[in-house]
Amino acid sequence: MSKNTTLQQIQSAIQSGDLTCVELVNTYLAQIQKTSDLNAYVEVFEEEAIAKAKALDTKYKNDPTSVGKLFGMVVSIKDVLCYKDHQVTGASKILEDFTSLYSATAIERIVNEDAIIIGRVNCDQFGMGSTNENSVYGVTKNGIDPTKVPGGSSGGSAVSVQMDTCLVSLGTDTGGSVRQPAGFCGVIGLKPTYGRISRYGLLAYASSFDQIGIISKSVENIATILEVMAGADEFDSTVSSKLVPNYIQELDFDTNKKVKIAYFDTALNHPSIDPEIKDQTTQLIEKIKGEGHTVEAVPFEYLDYIIPAYYVLTTAEASSNLSRYDGIRYGHRSKAATNLEETYKMSRTEGFSTEVKRRIMLGTFVLSAGYYDAYYGKAQKVRRLIQDRTNEILNDYDFILMPVAPTTAWDLGQSLEDPVAMYLADIFTVQANMTGMPAIALPIGTHSSGLPIGVQLMNKHFGESELLSISKYLINLLK
């Protein structure tokens, strides 16, 4: 299976008669079975995936030109993406047994292009968490070392790709939730520009930060599925109507071209950073320079303001976004409640995890009368400053390079003891969400502990093409 890591390879194998969709799906299903201890999947759409594969095999046999762009792509989806007539719970008890009436725009688009959705994968409740330990379905474990977390919140997505149970996984990234688990699991994770992919059908955590992200082992696959999902959508007023490029065609890096890359000294020398991560990042920088590119340290004075501002703004939005889970129309309703107020209080108390409740409380506080200006208002100003400064840097440089996270994957249970420490670990990924810019996490090496180390590249708004092509270039460079 591992030889077929790109969709193109899979499609060639099908074309040459070496592979059928049914065989492909069965291989993935066997792999899901084999790795089930890791708890990546919360639901496997086994029969449905096989049926779809059969139908696609017939369709292809009858007319090879009739199949869609994602023919042969098997995808897992994070449990925050709506798929019509399938359950979606945000890994929360509050949505137990909830079935979506509609499909997210992104899901609808990939299904229309003949992608096969093989299952629903685990995550931190409503995307809140960096370890995937905050799920009603229990923790997902890192396939490289099951005593470690896979990262989060899209931990199930990262592990499902890491363990070859699917070709691509769709996650969501509000503060690093696609890139950080990709980094912890040694796979590639892209968070596109805010507004590149419709958020319609994505269970909202923080609306002005959330974006669907893509995890895979190959940049080609990411480019292919991104192109299908991206673009205008009448159901999302914040999505961009900017033309969607042909990412695959723009994937090849022009080796004559020399790029300018910025990095922050404050990031590389941050007190929280693991020395091996610093070393490997520095080595990568030297290697890139060795190819004739420019890589320079630039000052970025706001690094330590990013996390506090991010948590004020995202929890504020979350406190409002999660109000709809009230036990009235759908989802968990406390059986002990005897009136309206009790229905709210008890259903929500029973339904949400500690971490979700913590963020709702925090968000409610920062928006409340008398505190708004000091917290929410101030954090908005910080966001603006960070956006302006980042724009400035990217006017002079093609990319910003950073580690994905200050450390490698943590021990299971470690983060639960100190949630603030977990928040601070998002320090390098959050900037892309604060600014809405696209960023990608790539594996660059292995720590002495055996865990993967990743690097992150960030680009201007809608610079996904350049980001994907430099990623492909760097991956080849590191081979």
Partner: protein, 483 residues
């Protein structure tokens, strides 16, 4: 006799909610019309299902701007939406999308006729928001029912300055506002269907004082009559409280129309903290000057403009002009007719005395009135030219015209033998007859009892079956009586 109540002045500000008559809801494609079986005008979006997002209905923006332009408000070029967070069973998302910071319109005013003459009631601002669903508590002792058909229907909230001084003024303001939204065709303005609802802020102060008293807000007053009664009750309550040494506390009150009494819903201390913040799912709406100017040019003539035209250019009375401008379709019909026939007073009379009562009786729209306007113009001309007596025309020709709208008024008049005659021989015979029959009255007239002329005219008209031309008859009669 002056009472203690006369020493006080009432100060009232209104928050009026206007339900817009758009086809679909404010932020999704669901049917926005009134009625329908409960919970049938809903979708995943209006039910607040996970992952759904709002999308703005462009029609409601135009409605808001039209109203703002009609009130002379300032129109904001950058408009943003906010979330108002609170929990209620009929609020699916747990927040309402509204405008807190940058409403579409600020300022402006409505002219209202009061007992002290016409006054401008100023608008503080107009903002847009979505309606909540409906909670029904009286169907079952143990359960409440929720109908979400109304959830997400677009509303405009008009917030006035505290310029109103009595229940009568409030009623006049509400009527003016209802007239306006109907003219603009942005709402049906029906209070009984909840298309127009009103929260009333009431305070009292001693006459002559310049600062306002502590105010109470009476919620959801759903008819003008209730508004007047609620104000009456609340003003008396507040004055009694002050006079007995108490203090009015800032409160939100509920008005019970059955008892006519207001009762506290909540105190200021436990007022909701709505935690307003910018709605991240909706980008700001930018309006260009060109767009605003275009909408301005599309505005229909407003009641105050038509009133001015009818009283000044057409020389109609205040009474006539008020009735004719009350509803736009009537005003439009009148104008059409007045364009064909310049006898404005006669046109107004026909509109007010015959056409308007007829459509009200038949419960039809004025556009469905069966007689074509050119025929109505001919009808008026028959009277103006003295061919038919106006009483005869109204009583006999008009009903026939409605029955057979394709016949000309003239031919109907001829069939009914109602054409007045100015023929001197015909008239001379009639006049002579009457004079001969009433010698005593003739003598009395000649001795100076000039009022008897009316008696002679009446007799002649009766004898002629209404066909005698009154002008010619009068002249002839005068000549013969003087002899």
């Amino acid at each position: 006799m002056s009472t203690i109540y006369d020493q006080y002045e009432t100060v009232i500000g209104l928050e009026i909610h206007i339900q817009l008559n758009t086809n679909s809801k404010a932020f999704c494609g669901d049917d926005a019309h009134f009625g329908g079986a409960p919970n049938t005008h809903v979708s995943a979006i209006s039910l607040g299902h996970p992952g759904t997002l709002p999308r703005l209905n462009a029609q409601q923006i135009k409605s808001a701007i039209k109203l703002g332009l009609a009130l002379g408000s300032e129109i904001n070029s950058v408009n943003t939406f906010d979330r108002k967070n609170y929990f209620y069973a009929d609020l699916p998302k747990g927040y309402q999308i509204t405008q807190d910071n940058q409403p579409f319109c600020r300022g402006g005013s409505v002219m209202v006729k009061t007992i002290n003459g016409e006054r401008a009631i100023r608008t503080h601002h107009i903002h847009m928001e979505e309606d909540a669903g409906k909670s029904i508590h009286d169907l079952d002792p143990n359960h409440s029912f929720i109908d979400l058909n109304r959830a997400g229907v677009p509303l405009l909230e008009i917030v006035t300055e505290p310029d109103l001084r009595s229940g009568e003024e409030v009623e006049a303001y509400m009527l003016a506002m209802r007239q306006l939204v109907r003219y603009l065709d942005i709402s049906d303005g029906n209070m009984d269907e909840g298309s127009m609802r009103c929260d009333v802020n009431i305070s009292v102060r001693k006459k002559g004082e310049t600062t306002f008293g502590e105010r109470c807000e009476v919620k959801n007053v759903n008819s003008m009559r209730f508004a007047k009664r609620a104000i009456q009750y609340e003003v008396k309550r507040q004055i009694d409280l002050i006079e007995s040494g108490g203090k009015v506390r800032q409160q939100t009150l509920n008005f019970d129309p059955e008892t006519g009494v207001t009762s506290p819903l909540r105190d200021k201390e436990d007022a909701h903290d709505y935690r307003y913040f910018p709605e991240p799912d909706l980008p700001p709406v930018h309006l260009s000057n060109e767009q605003i100017e275009l909408w301005k040019s599309e505005l229909p003539a407003l009641p105050k403009e038509l009133y001015a035209k009818f009283t000044k250019e057409h020389q109609l009375s205040d009474y006539d002009a008020t009735i004719l401008t009350e509803e736009r379709p009537v005003a439009v019909f009148y104008q059409k007719l007045a364009e064909l026939n310049g006898n404005y007073k006669a046109v107004a009379n026909l509109m007010i005395n015959k056409i308007r009562p007829y459509i009200q009786e038949q419960k039809i729209h004025i556009q469905e009135f069966p007689v074509p306007v050119n025929s109505l113009s001919d009808f008026i001309q028959l009277i103006v030219d003295g061919k038919v007596a106006s009483a005869m025309a109204y009583q006999r020709i008009f009903p026939k015209l409605i029955e057979t709208p394709n016949e000309t008024p003239l031919s109907i008049a001829e069939q009914l033998h109602l054409i007045q005659s100015a023929d001197e021989d015909f008239l001379m015979t009639l006049v002579k007859e009457v004079i001969e029959k009433n010698p005593q009255k003739v003598a009395a007239y000649q001795k100076g009892k000039k009022g008897l002329i009316g008696f002679f005219m009446g007799e002649i008209m009766r004898a002629s079956k209404g066909k005698a031309d009154p002008k010619a008859t009068n002249q002839l009669l005068g000549e013969l009586l003087r002899k």
